[in-house]
């Protein structure tokens, strides 16, 4: 109320009146007339809004809507504003120029034939009633229908400012705990005597829940595990159990990494994923337990009993994605999380000798035991790759020569496991580096240059780069780049400097053509017995040359596509299907992105391409399948 201007209202200006007058054809409106009109119109508008408030209140809303205005006009015997239905709250656009500022309603021209030919919009869902218990004998059960007992903001506040908890009365948050009123009061009186900063006592029900969940998560029954993970990912009110859960995970990783129990490690990582996905939890307080566990699963020397057989690579990939997700969610300027994680991985890539001399002495001079194992190298590369192309550029690219020597050495060696690891590492390096190198180097790509610059991996890298270069841009001149979403290394991160690519695109105009990239990923280590199902990722996207996409992927939709094998330049209208394996978390995610048709490219045939996306990982009634990467591991469980 302090601001009197705010308190007692504003009014229309003379300028507004003149602009309105102009718009209806009165060129010169005198100042007096404008003043008179402005005052009157202001008064009438305010009266109408006041009346509309009544209708808003009786519609039991707190937000004024257009229908309220209509009803207010009606009781004033005025005609309603027909055709003014606006889903957005404020339909006004702002423009300024010539010293005048304008708010206007944007009216687009609508092509009727387009509307007629378009498929009818979806019928809205009918209203339905659903019952749940808000309270049972005065206690609110923590079911998803009820709000979490401690909101995410409160958890965040608590982790940032632990003092705030002390100032609050101690029995405020007892609503979430299934204690009856009497016990709660007893507890409150008790806590007067006992000084307890953080009580982590769990009720009997919570203890049971914890037991059930942890057993199911690491047990052998896949159905139960799916349910348990679902519960972890969705249920509110788990925050009281978080310390236990996180300790369980970190202890579990410690034990199982020693025992090389791959399956259990995977299950634990899936728990981490589920907890990360839970909207009502704020994990920052527990990162000190989670991050070591996750990074262990990325870079550990050995994760399974038979490195030559088991697909521990999938675990490393998965954990690397988790790490990226953690970094993205919790990185702040104070904890420098991403920097620290990056440093951790970069250290793994650090060759003791390499730091001194870039070209490096031959590997032979080093003892086998001193070397970082190839598997750890793989993990470090993957971990860095998930953090985005910038990180790849800074931390992996300078080490390519050395990594290549390691790979070369291993491939020429005798150890089967080493050979496999080297193959995987090489594959991964190419996948990660190719897009980055493409951005950095100008064509033409000469194998000799690459060889010179990157050593052993040079020629392969050159092939990969030229393959990428040719795939999206050459076939359709002026095409935007097809994108495999969410795998950061494959993102077209910035406007490509290469002139052949999108040279003609102007800075302001978004040129879109629709490309279809069908990329199939072959698993890094084909398991001998069961070849994992092939996965199709068909993605198209609208390139915005001016927009720099963020380096880290969007997190939950994660796509592996190591080699774009089939590249077709078909003009499809839309259809983007991304099946995310997301091994630990939610069910299959399908994303459909419509790409706006561009009129100036009507001559291109618009043959629709039927796309079949194989569900990679479906959860549901019919027995959930493990994700494909983990398929060959299920026998371990």
């Amino acid at each position: 109320m302090g601001d009197s201007e705010l308190a007692y209202g504003s009014s229309l200006t003379l300028d507004s009146m003149k602009v309105i007058a102009e718009s209806v054809g009165i060129a010169t409106l005198g100042d007096d007339a404008a003043k008179e009109l402005a005052d009157d119109v202001t008064y009438r508008l305010k009266v109408i809004v006041q009346d509309a408030m009544k209708f808003m209140h009786h519609s039991k809303r707190q937000k004024l809507s257009i229908t309220d205005i209509d009803h207010a006009l009606k009781i004033k015997n005025n005609e309603c504003q027909y055709g003014f239905i606006q889903p957005d709250s404020l339909p006004f656009r702002f423009a300024s120029g010539g010293g005048r500022e304008l708010h206007f309603i944007e009216e687009k021209e609508i092509d009727l034939s387009e509307i007629l030919s378009a498929p009818p919009p979806k019928v809205p869902l009918d209203v339905s009633v659903r019952a749940h218990w808000l309270s049972v004998d005065g206690v609110q059960p923590t079911v998803p229908e009820n709000p979490p007992p401690l909101s995410k903001e409160a958890q965040k506040l608590e982790s940032v400012d632990p003092i705030s908890k002390l100032s609050k009365p101690s029995n405020k948050d007892s609503a979430g705990k299934p204690i009856c009123g009497k016990a709660a009061r007893l507890k409150a009186s008790e806590s007067v005597h006992v000084k307890q900063l953080a009580t982590h006592e769990l009720s009997v029900e919570q203890q049971l829940y914890y037991k059930e969940i942890t057993e199911a998560c690491v047990g052998s029954d896949e159905t139960r595990r799916a349910e348990a993970l679902q519960s972890l990912a969705c249920d509110p009110g788990l925050h009281e159990m978080l310390p236990r859960m996180c300790t369980f995970i970190s202890e579990g990783v410690k034990v199982n990494v020693v025992q090389n129990n791959l399956a259990l490690l995977i299950y634990l990582m899936r728990m981490v994923k589920a907890l990360l996905d839970n909207q009502s939890l704020y994990l920052e307080k527990y990162l000190h337990e989670l991050i070591p566990s996750v990074s262990t699963c990325i870079v550990s020397r050995q994760l399974c009993l038979r490195p030559e057989m088991d697909n521990h690579w999938a675990l490393r990939d998965f954990a690397a994605r988790l790490m990226a997700q953690i970094c993205k969610t919790f990185n702040t300027s104070t904890n420098n999380l991403q920097t620290r994680v990056t440093r951790l991985f970069a250290k793994a890539l650090q060759c003791p000798s390499q730091t001194n001399n870039e070209t490096g002495p031959s590997m032979a001079s080093m003892k086998e035991s001193e070397k970082t194992p190839l598997a750890s190298l793989y993990g470090a590369v993957q971990g860095l790759a998930e953090l985005g192309p910038e990180v790849v550029k800074v931390f992996i690219l300078p080490r390519v020569r050395w990594l290549g020597e390691r790979v070369e050495g291993a491939l020429s060696g005798i150890g089967g496991a080493d050979r496999l690891a080297a193959g995987n590492l090489k594959h991964q390096l190419l996948k990660v580096l190719a897009p980055v190198v493409r951005q950095l180097r100008q064509p033409p790509d000469q194998p000799e240059d690459y060889k010179r610059d990157f050593g052993y991996l040079g020629p392969s890298l050159q092939q990969a780069v030229s393959k990428i270069r040719s795939s999206p841009s050459c076939s359709t001149a002026g095409g935007a780049v097809a994108v495999v979403t969410c795998t950061p290394p494959l993102l077209p991160t910035a406007p490509s400097p290469s002139p052949s690519n999108i040279s003609h695109t102007t800075k302001t105009e978004t040129v879109t053509t629709r490309n279809l990239v069908i990329a199939s990923s072959t698993p890094q280590s084909p398991a001998p017995s069961t070849p994992p199902p092939q996965k199709f990722v068909i993605v198209a996207s609208q390139q915005k040359p001016t927009q720099i996409q963020s380096s880290s992927g969007t997190g939950h939709i994660v796509v592996h596509s190591s080699q774009p094998t089939i590249v077709r330049s078909q003009n499809v209208q839309s259809v983007v299907v991304t099946s995310g394996p997301a091994p630990g978390g939610a069910a299959q995610k399908v994303m459909v992105v419509g790409v706006q048709p561009q009129h100036n490219q009507g001559q291109v045939s618009q043959a629709p391409v039927s796309v079949v996306a194989k569900p990679v990982f479906a959860r549901g009634g019919g027995g959930p399948q493990p994700p494909p990467e983990l398929d060959d591991l299920s026998h371990l469980a």
């Binding site: 109320m1 302090g2 009197s4 308190a7 007692y8 209202g9 005052d39 202001t42 008064y43 305010k46 009266v47 006041q50 009544k54 209708f55 209140h57 009786h58 519609s59 039991k60 809303r61 707190q62 937000k63 809507s65 229908t67 009803h71 009606k74 009781i75 809205p124 869902l125 009918d126 209203v127 339905s128 009633v129 659903r130 019952a131 749940h132 218990w133 808000l134 309270s135 049972v136 004998d137 005065g138 609110q140 229908e145 009820n146 709000p147 609503a175 009123g181 009497k182």
Partner: protein
């Protein structure tokens, strides 16, 4: 004569000075002034001017500010004993000064006056001031709702005798107080009461009405707030005990004395506060109604006793996919049906039990049914036509209220289209359209005994109807603004209304007159609920404030702490009258200890101890997941049902 004619003579002299002959003649004729007086026109120039300006003070903009400032200082400096009572005078004086300034075309002065002193007014008047501030021209005063209320009615201020004499002395002493005196004479009703001046809390408890506090005389009529004698129902297997409980429990929250009376005398007929059973002619119970009553009593015997240590369970019905469209709801007395009124004129009725909703057979088929058969009511329903949800179409505007009749055969609804509709829940069609309200109808309620219903609307009236008359039986006029909510007294003899003028009024259905006017709410009242015993009424407002009133005195029994942050749209008493529940748009349901509220306010000192121990009233608060609460209902077994719409964050 000479005194009176001085200004006239001054004017005459002025006219003569400017040589306006004909006007002078007319004036002389009209004032019947003799030539003698006219000849002696020799007033000095200075005095002439002073006489003319003195006459002009009313339209001098600067006097207003000075006079108001003076009054304010006087009140601030007066004794604490009178200070708070006198301060109630400031707001009406302020408002009328503003309106006068507007009236005399001093718009700029009016605006600056408002800006200077507006923020000093009580917080609950700020909203009105905002509404008033849009009036910036004298033509706008006429036609503006609020300005008209102020200019055509008198604002009532209650002062103790001493305070009023203090005020009088001040006004006499002051020179430029003529403006204030005029305003007080024309627009303010000062009611002088004997006794000491009131404290700040006491003043605040009843302040807030658009036109101040009620006159003492307005609340003198006796109100029969007791319950009617329940008719004996033979259908029950063991009715005696059940009935006893029903009759006793409502009296629990009352004073102990009253309770004792009832314990000793089994027949509550002797309740001195109950109206005679035939005061209002009530319909006879039909056979089927008796069955229903019997069922209710049996259910009631299984009721859970509630209290601070045994809170009710709450079952929350969420309306999914409704967004902002579902705006009203009601659950029928036996908690089997849920009706929801929508923004898009539609009404939906759901069954909350596995029993499906059945339609009636067509007229031809009904002919074939043996009307004497015992199960004729079952037979006349269609076999195949069953559904869990049924639509009722007919309104042409948002449905602001739906209400089941006590025997769940009919449904009432009111809408923006100014009509009230009566629907049959057997053939699922509209039976009657009641036209009478001129503007949107905000609320409609059944009498607890059926047959009668009451409606209220934007036309500032409340109306009493009987289902068999297409015209209202009574029209209750008196509110200064929209009548936003209405509620029948449990004994069907009275109707309570809550309004945007921030008053709750109680009307006698028999005489149609207003018997209570209760002020103290600081915002628009959106919902009302009578206690089970009939003596108290709870009201909830748009500011999230709640109050409990005592009908016997018309005074506030308790002002509950403002726990809600958004308008309260639902209030419900538990069936044993011990717990009051409130539901608000801030997505919470709160439970209040009603026994404590009424116990701590014995009649003699209702006003004295309002502030302390307020925290004790609130028992528990339950938050919903972004679902504003739009309806509350206690089942006969004291399970609380709540209805809300899920509104996603988008």
């Amino acid at each position: 004569m000479s005194e009176k004619s001085t200004p006239l003579l001054a004017v005459l002299q002025l006219l003569r000075k400017y040589n306006l002959k004909s006007t002078e003649d007319i004036l002389r004729k009209e004032a019947s002034l003799g030539d003698v007086e006219c000849e002696s026109l020799d007033l000095p120039e200075v005095e002439l001017a002073s006489i003319l300006t003195a006459h002009h003070t009313e339209s001098d903009p600067f006097t207003y500010e000075l006079a108001y400032d003076g009054l304010k200082k006087f009140i601030e400096n007066s004794l604490d004993l009178y200070k708070y009572e006198l301060s109630t005078l400031l707001y009406p004086v302020f408002v009328h000064m503003y309106l006068l300034l507007i009236l005399y075309d001093h718009v700029e002065h009016a605006v600056s006056f408002l800006e200077k002193f507006g923020i000093e007014q009580e917080d609950y008047y700020q909203e009105d001031l905002k509404k008033l501030s849009i009036v910036k021209h004298k033509d706008q005063i006429k036609g503006n709702e609020l300005a008209e209320i102020y200019s055509t009615n008198k604002f009532t201020v209650q002062l103790s005798r001493d305070a009023s004499s203090q005020l009088k002395r001040y006004l006499h002493e002051q020179k430029n107080s003529s403006v204030i005196i005029n305003i007080i004479n024309n627009h303010i009703q000062i009611e002088v009461h004997d006794g000491p001046g009131r404290t700040q809390a006491q003043v605040r408890a009843t302040a807030g009405g658009v036109l101040g506090e009620p006159m003492k005389s307005e609340n003198r009529t006796k109100v029969y707030y007791g319950l009617l004698k329940e008719p004996d129902i033979q259908v029950l297997p063991a009715p005696v005990e059940d009935e006893e409980e029903v009759e006793e429990t409502p009296d629990k929250p009352k004073k102990k004395k009253a309770k004792k009376d009832n314990l000793f005398m089994k027949k509550p007929k002797s309740d001195p506060n109950a109206p005679p059973n035939d005061r209002i002619p009530l319909p006879d119970l039909k056979e089927i109604d008796k069955v229903e009553k019997g069922k209710a009593l049996r259910e009631a015997s299984k009721r859970v006793q509630l209290g601070p240590d045994s809170l009710p369970s709450i079952c929350f019905y969420t309306l999914l996919n409704s967004g902002h469209t579902a705006i009203s709801c009601d659950i029928c007395d036996d908690s089997t049906l849920l009706a929801v009124g929508f923004n898009n004129s539609n009404i939906k009725v759901w069954t909350l039990t596995p029993i499906k909703l059945r339609g009636m057979k067509s007229a031809e088929k009904l002919q074939d049914i043996d009307r004497e058969a015992g199960d004729v009511l079952v037979r006349m329903m269609e076999e195949k036509d069953r559904d869990t949800c049924r639509n009722l179409f007919g309104h042409s505007g948002p449905v602001y209220k739906v209400a089941f009749d006590p025997f769940k055969t009919m449904l009432l609804s009111c809408s923006e289209d100014t009509t009230v509709r009566l629907w049959s829940l057997q053939c699922w069609t509209c039976l009657v359209v009641y036209r009478g309200h001129v503007w949107p109808v905000w609320d409609v309620r059944w009498s607890p005994h059926g047959h009668y219903f009451a409606s209220s609307g934007h036309d500032r009236t409340a109306r009493l109807w009987a289902t068999d008359h297409h015209l209202p039986l009574r029209i209750f006029i008196g509110h200064y603004s929209d009548v936003d909510c209405i509620q029948f007294h449990p004994n069907s003899n009275y109707i309570a209304t809550g309004s945007s003028d921030r008053t709750v009024r109680l009307w006698d259905c028999l005489t149609g007159s207003q018997v209570r006017i209760m002020t103290g709410h600081k915002s628009t009242i959106f919902t009302l609920a009578f206690s089970v015993c009939g003596r108290w009424i709870a009201s909830g407002g748009s500011g999230g404030d709640m109050m409990v009133w005592d009908l016997s005195t018309g005074g506030p029994a308790a002002s509950l702490p403002p726990a809600h942050t958004a308008p309260i749209h639902a209030l419900a008493f538990s069936r044993d009258g011990t717990v009051l529940s409130s539901g608000s748009l801030d997505c919470t349901i709160k439970l209040w200890d009603f026994t404590a509220i009424t116990d701590e306010s014995p009649i003699e000192e209702t006003l004295n101890n309002l502030i302390p121990k307020e925290d004790k009233y609130l028992l528990q608060s339950f938050a919903t997941k972004s679902s504003p609460v739009k309806g509350l209902h206690f089942t006969r077994r004291n399970l609380l049902l709540a209805v809300g719409t899920y509104e996603s964050s988008a």
